[in-house]
Amino acid sequence: MKTLTRQELEDFAANPPANPPEWIRVQLDTGGIAAGAEAVHAALAHEREERKLLFSLQRAGSIGYSFADPVIEVQAPGMPRIHYGHVTPELVGQVIEDHLRDRRLIDDHVIATRQRAVTLDGPVTHLLVRDTGPETGSKTEFFQFSFTEELKRRGLAERVQVVRALDIGVYEEGAVIQLLPSGVTYANVLAPDVARIVAESIEGGRVIDDLLWKTPDRQVRIVLRNCGDVDPDSLDDYLRRASGYQGLRRALFESNPEQVIAELKASGLRGRGGAGFPTWMKWQLTRAQPAPQRYVICNGDEGDPGAFMDRSVLESDPHSVLEGMMIAAYAMGASKGYFYIRAEYPKAVERIERAIRQAREQGLLGKNILGSTFSFEAKVRLGAGAFVCGEETALIASIEGRRGSPSPRPPYPSVRGLWGMPTAINNVETLACVPAILTRGGAWFAGFGTETSKGTKVFAVTGKVRNAQLVEVPMGTTLREIIYEVCGGVLDGREIKAVQTGGPSGGVIPVQHLDTRVSYESLQQLGSIMGSGGMLVMDKTDSMVEVAKFYLKFCVDESCGKCAPCRIGGYQLLQILDRISRGRGSAGDLALIQRICQAMQRASLCGLGQTAPNPVLSTLRYFGEEYQAFIEGGPSYARKVSRGSASPAKAPERTGTTPPVNPTPSNR
């Protein structure tokens, strides 16, 4: 098999290939496949065959619109790229006939582009409309009708199609319309504005300033730069269309390991797994350790319930992660790498294994890569359902084929890691950033973010949120912007109560802190952590005691049992919480919880035990009155909450059924 050469790689960079004029991409990640994307792909392939069509049918990963799975993206000549959500095999015929043949968009499936423009270039061909007011969607049809009538009146109905959008990217701003192909977006459109928009913007080609939605998209896609675009199963696609392995080429031929580390230092990239240790320092420490062999490990053991960033990146853009790992290995002088991935992510495992195989066939892995002196080999190791294996030392034990019990640090893995050799462990997202930093420069990356936290962070926003999706925003974006502007706010227009970040090791952030700018430090100050990026939205109906109990139960189940504070402390804590949530708690319980939590934080061996009390402590800190309500309300109140007939946020009604209580329980 012919291997890739340095020259070819340079040619790829110099001459990006022309895209075919007409294509459909089906987003086939686990979420999409679960929602039926394979059937959609099969139906498209069948129709293409049947009708002898020439459009290029491509496979891709996910852009992150989980709320609309399965998602496809369609490009027809002379039209902007359009995402369709909730696609079914039955819709395929319509996509081909209406969109590709007649250039007409399909009602109720279009997801509007987030690349909103402020100037109109070229005549309007399509007008997307969606009512985002309090009763979402109720006036969409009215506006569609009004615009269509107005266009007819002016004889423009043939030229401009009015389409109901599935999602328009602006929320709680009344009726929103977007003019295609430019992407000019108007918000809070009222009935009298219809004639104005048609006259001025569509006929006159002028932007109406007082309606224009100027807020740019909050998202910046660095980690997710190729997700949903490239075919995760094709090295060729990555090389040609995503300027793949150009970061590696720059590292190998245009700099030395010290310069790579310096570039990382300039970028300010910190570990995206949660702790936020500077990546360059980790590499430097591993490099500085004299040893016959060094290892680099990619931590893809994404065990936090409710987080799926790493899965999505591994499934949608595996070569980026592999390239990042190779650059890391070059910088620290490692010749072997391991991907440690959860066995529960079969698709991610399959795609990264294929990526490794393709890279090996093309000579991007093995001896003297691209004719340099750098040799590297990568392998996959499967996790087996143990949350604690996300901890560095436990992860190393698991790769060595042992129980995943953590061991005390120091020595840190950068000194004595895998098989006693210096080892650097990096998160999937961290590694996915690396090629972008190498190609575009550390200073460019450092241009995003805050003083201490540079770059962007991917969050998986789920729970009671309207659009559950992957979000990549610059550090320093506020939680409110992420939840309300990007994800459309709380489900069913209910009131937000808190956001949970960091999974079982994190904490809750109450509504009064929603304007906090996201960074490693700011979240820590609030008693939570950045974590790997799970972000859970909770509304007023969620009981914080139950949430704390849920996370604690998780940690108790996952405790490896090696050290007493975690094993015993966690169990006792859970007993107390259980007691409280059944209304059988006593006044002294809250103080006892505090003491146990402190003991666990101070004395536990590894991060799991040290952080397990976080959800309990932070809910206690911000929602102490809920615990009080359970303690004071007794069993009858607890039953009411579990039936949903009492709000967990409010103290119980002091009726005859509950015993009279002292308002300050510490006096009891």
């Binding site: 409710g306 190791r381 087996a384």
Partner: protein, 219 residues
């Protein structure tokens, strides 16, 4: 069975063990003891039978050994291969059978206790054979907030088993999983590898009926 019971010369007794038992029982009833010549003949028959069973057993053993050797050969060169071999075994059998674990211990030269130490540490490895069908409830946080608890309760009461258990007819296995990463479709359940999103507890009966229908179609 009754037809084999009449007292008969031992010579043409069937090899069926229930027939042998019936014969011994009827002799005991008639004479109060089993005559010498009969017991000798029966024990000869049993010997023959045992020998055959042993041969079957040894053939099974060689199959197991060959399988295990294959897995080990594939991973022999790799350091820390135990977990990857266990993954291969579990993929093949659906769980890690004791005989296979014992064979693996011999093949790798690793103590059986150490293998079990690893198997029992990780949730993913199972020691019991799975049911014919599996229903898994995602218990990730997003699913939890959107009512996976209700789904689990519904499944528990309809199947009469708790999570981690299999129905007595070994047809349906109920399990929970930490997170399948389909948080956009919460709450989600996985029925025989197919992920179903936005599940309501009223739909559970339909899913189970679907599985049972599949079972009958196979039978």
């Amino acid at each position: 069975m009754k037809s084999a019971a009449p007292a008969s010369p031992v010579g043409h007794v069937s090899h069926d063990e229930s027939a042998l038992l019936d014969l011994l029982e009827s002799l005991k009833q008639r004479h109060g003891f089993v005559p010498r010549e009969v017991s000798d003949e029966v024990s000869r028959l049993v010997e023959v039978k045992l020998e055959r069973l042993r041969r079957i057993q040894s053939q099974l053993d060689t199959t197991i050994r060959r399988d295990v050797q294959q897995h080990v050969a594939h991973w022999r060169e790799e350091e820390g291969n135990l977990i990857m071999i266990l993954h291969a075994i579990q993929n093949q059998h659906g769980y890690v059978p004791r005989e296979v674990a014992m064979e693996l211990s011999r093949e790798l030269g690793v103590k059986l206790a150490r293998i079990y130490e690893v198997i029992t540490f990780y949730h993913y490895f199972k020691l019991q054979p799975p049911g014919a069908h599996t229903v898994t409830v995602c218990n990730g946080t997003a699913c939890y907030l959107k009512g996976s608890g209700e789904l689990l309760n519904e499944l528990r009461s309809q199947l009469g088993i708790a999570e981690g258990q299999t129905t007595p007819d070994r047809q349906i296995h109920l399990d929970t999983v930490r997170c399948i990463g389909c948080c956009g479709m919460a709450p989600a359940i996985v029925v025989d590898g197919k992920t179903c999103g936005h599940v309501k507890s009223s739909e559970i009966a339909g899913h189970l009926a679907g599985l049972r229908a599949k079972k009958e179609a196979v039978a």
